[in-house]
Point group: C2
Chain length 295, copies 2
């Protein structure tokens, strides 16, 4: 029987250890920048994106540890996006993962610089470490920068900001989620497989898994935001609703949303059937876990 909890803890500890190596030391000048980078990067994130990257490398027959530079770069980009999204002129969040957000502790200017630093440093890590051949590393940089950039995550966040306080149609809601969240999940899973030199057929199957994962994640996120327990989540439940944001439960109702999430989970599991079963246990367990997630 596959022990998901143990797998997640072990992979998260690999990632935390390497993240601490890759990021500028807390004693690097300017001290306040280093301290603020560490504050957000080690604020208790679940490390879901880097774990998916490592699990995908393993599913593709590669060595999970060899994917760690890519995995850590993904977490830096994810953290930058949270720090900037939390700013007063964006989502204006005071808490994240149960702790004060960067700008509440260090000020808005430092929070912007922390995000800029983490985003840029991710590309130093991607270009400096990793055992893949140079052409594969370039392909990974292209994959990740596209997913994070103006036709990926930034496009999703822009549409999200522009939609605030307006009624969004299902098409716009999907656009926001696909780009704001889905593109980076896809990049995490695809780039992990690329570190293992996965052939196209395998990459296609993992891409299908990734797209289903992203949708299931986002729908369960919306459900949690509406129905969840603020204490467990470390942020205020109902936050999206407060900003007048469209969500799956607000458009389709809770019951139909839960059904949609289950459909995407089944779709993701089906996609994995193209890979050797014994290597896909972690990816299967992680997507199944979404159905019951509480945080």
């Amino acid at each position: 029987m596959f022990d998901l909890k143990r797998y997640l803890l072990e992979r998260a500890s690999w990632i935390n250890e390497r993240l601490a190596d890759f990021v500028p030391s807390i004693y690097a000048k300017p001290f306040l920048l280093s301290e603020a980078i560490h504050y957000s990067l080690f604020a208790g994130g679940k490390r879901l994106r880097p774990i998916l990257c490592v699990a995908s490398a393993e599913a593709a027959g590669g060595d999970g540890e060899a994917a760690l530079p890519v995995a850590c770069a993904l977490e830096m980009i994810h953290t930058y996006s949270l720090v900037h999204d939390d700013l007063p002129c964006m989502d204006d969040d005071d808490y994240r993962r149960g702790k004060l957000t960067s700008h509440k502790v260090y000020g808005e200017n430092m929070a912007i610089l922390v995000g800029d630093a983490l985003l840029t440093h991710a590309f130093t890590v991607l270009s400096s470490y990793g055992a893949e051949d140079p052409a594969a590393r370039l392909q990974i940089i292209r994959e990740i920068s596209r997913a994070a950039g103006p036709s990926g995550m930034v496009a999703g966040q822009t549409q999200d900001v522009l939609s605030e306080g307006r009624a969004v149609d299902p098409e716009t809601l999907e656009y926001i989620h696909v780009h704001k969240t889905g593109d980076m999940f896809a990049a995490a899973i695809r780039s992990g497989a690329m570190t293992a030199g996965a052939p196209d057929r395998m990459l296609d199957a993992l891409t299908e898994y990734a797209e289903a994962f992203g949708m299931a994640f986002q729908i369960t996120d919306d459900i949690l935001d509406m129905a969840g327990d603020s204490g467990k989540m470390g942020k205020t439940a109902g936050g999206d609703n407060k900003l007048g944001k469209g969500t799956y439960p607000s458009l389709f109702g809770l019951e139909r949303s839960r059904e949609m999430a289950r459909d995407f989970i089944r779709k993701g599991l089906r996609a994995l059937e193209a890979l050797p079963e014994e290597r896909t246990e972690p990816l299967r367990a992680i997507i199944e876990y979404l159905a019951g997630r509480e945080t």
Copy 2:
């Protein structure tokens, strides 16, 4: 007789043409993001960093046009840094190059997203285009991301923000300038040479030139800010002083500052003597131009 004005105009038009190709179309969704990216990227910048990149590739015996993807990525990163530095919580500037700054036109949230988009997209360009072999392209990405990141430009900007309204000593002033401005000049000149496959000896000479260039540029910038003509500069003269920022003229006086700038220009010219004279005309003319710059 070398015609610097013509050289600068021609290279700037190469760069503007390729920039328009590389950046998301103005018709790309979300429209407001694309429009805001174009607004800042085509706001009349001098294209100094990309021109130096191209000129350095030529000085190293390479093809200037082959350096254009790298040159354009450098301009995207430079533009992102201006857009974020102009924000109310940073330098709070309403005008840049004679036009309203991004956040004044599109709002703070859009200005942050424009910067994030340009920074990320620069790495898509660097990883997607260019004739250099993959190992050289990785080296260029490493060079540029380090110069822009938490031990480069972001460190300089952080120290600048932290020093506002305080008396800075000459050491701190140099730290700010070396990292905020110098590191990206060095990356522009070094990465240009890398596109041409420059040998180490040549790269060392160009690095020396670049460091001297960065200092001369910054000192003349400070002098202009104190003594310049607001109309010609398109921003308010005395702006640094208003924020209580340390500058070379405020620490050393105008006359001594002009002398220091001339010393760095001489140093830069000397460094170029290690390269074939007929190929360094543009780099020589550009650094000499700093002595008389008015904008």
